[in-house]
Symmetry: C2
Subunit: 268 residues, 2 copies
């Protein structure tokens, strides 16, 4: 957690002079999330740049730079399920699928995927999800459904939706005594996480993570190496590859919630 | 966390037949917290009994059986401060003083005691507390005061009051990136722990503990050994020693909040 970079990522301007390096017709265009990578050339703060294996195909590993590493790291670095553990993953978008993949790589034997959209369930199997729960199919709170399915609660749960109700469910469905819940999704500004403190006193742990606890500059090159060594399959995360000229199509897919994980190809 | 014993501790009757072993004039008197130790003879579930070093003086080590072990374990087993860490302890009653002692034994270099009662501050120094904060002395929330004192927050905080506002403050005063807050105090039935989930996403950890994560039967004998080996000074935790015939005096002291940690001596 680097304060300097965090501020730099959010502010949309370079740190040294508080100005943008982009403009159109004299009007400034602000930097986006420290990278502004929808541009042929860009200017980044040194902290936003990581040197990766030059042999890595950029049109694939670029997908590791945000959600995928976040979900993967949430499992591998924070939730750390043990062999044979049961893990619940809330939200089966890109981040949740990566979290499931991380749980699978850790040796979890049951991975319960939770999503409101049943069309996501089939694909999630590729990422190790073994069971599915759609909260809409039940009259009782989803945490109670999961506690009953698992005879007391899951060993680990990972919340990847950003919905505060899902966060609370993810925490309340872990087992007393050793359960760990990890919050990954970015909440709304006015959201409140609420639970009865007795849930904590029963020896549960609640954690959150930013970028899966990876330090981008030092740790991302290692994630790329995992792909190069075939420990991590990046291809299955990619659903579409779209040329830059059709970038708005990609945004349309995303807004329709079709579980798009897309590569935008720069041309020329 | 043994479900069987937990139920047995709360229910006031023996597990096998659901009945009490005490009565007065034919009216049952219920078992208290699995021990009923204000009685000359008692009947306990085997799980409520721990075999300790027979050389240990019972009129001293009896004080290890609840709050003191809880606070000590909250520091040593759960918060686990590292050498040089800064630790905040909320509530300077018996449990909080034991938590401070645990932090001191772990090598914490700053221990910030938080209490509404300034008369507790002086004695707390004996338990390693180096600085004091009385929330009443400040217009801003105590978490903000502590964040300013520590330039970003404490490494560990341990909440020993049971007050849900103190729980929230204890969590919100830990440092982003690595801070761990441990809840020890027993909350009210209708209390709600509330915080903005972003506090968690900033890589903080929130944990709770019951009996300091010690398993009574297997771990309490080891805590007694710490006393026998002079690693742990039990005497400084004892403020009064009162004969059984004056037990109500002890309750009076307790209700007055005078920070009583008392041995009740059985006579005859």
């Amino acid at each position: 957690m680097c304060d300097l970079l965090r501020i730099n990522t959010d502010r949309g301007v370079m740190l040294n002079d508080g100005k943008s390096r982009f403009s159109i017709n004299g009007k400034p265009i602000y930097h986006f999330v420290g990278g502004s990578t929808f541009s042929e050339y860009t200017v980044c703060h040194i902290g936003s740049v990581a040197k990766i294996n030059p042999a890595a195909p950029l049109d694939k590993v670029c997908i590791l730079s945000c959600g995928i590493s976040t979900g993967l790291g949430a499992a591998l670095n924070v939730a750390k399920p043990k062999k044979g553990h049961t893990v619940a993953v809330f939200g089966l978008g890109a981040v949740g699928l990566a979290a499931a993949e991380g749980a699978r790589l850790s040796g979890a034997s049951r991975i319960i995927g939770v999503d409101l959209n049943p069309s996501r369930f089939n694909e999630a199997k590729k990422f190790g999800v073994t069971e599915f729960v759609n909260p809409k199919d039940h009259d009782k709170p989803v945490q109670q459904v999961i506690i009953e399915m698992t005879d007391g609660g899951v060993d680990r749960s990972i919340e990847c939706t950003g919905n505060v109700r899902a966060m609370i469910s993810a925490f309340e469905c872990v087992h007393d005594g050793w359960g760990v819940a990890v919050l990954v999704g970015v909440p709304g500004k006015d959201d409140e996480f609420k639970t009865h403190p007795m849930n904590l006193l029963n020896e549960r742990t609640l954690k959150g993570t930013f970028f899966g606890n990876y330090k981008p500059r030092t740790d991302l090159p290692g994630v790329v190496e995992k792909y190069m060594n075939k420990e991590l399959e990046v291809e299955k995360f990619i659903t579409h590859s779209i040329p830059f000229s059709e970038i708005n199509k990609a945004f349309d897919y995303m807004l329709k919630g079709e579980g798009l994980r897309c590569i935008i190809r720069m041309e020329g």
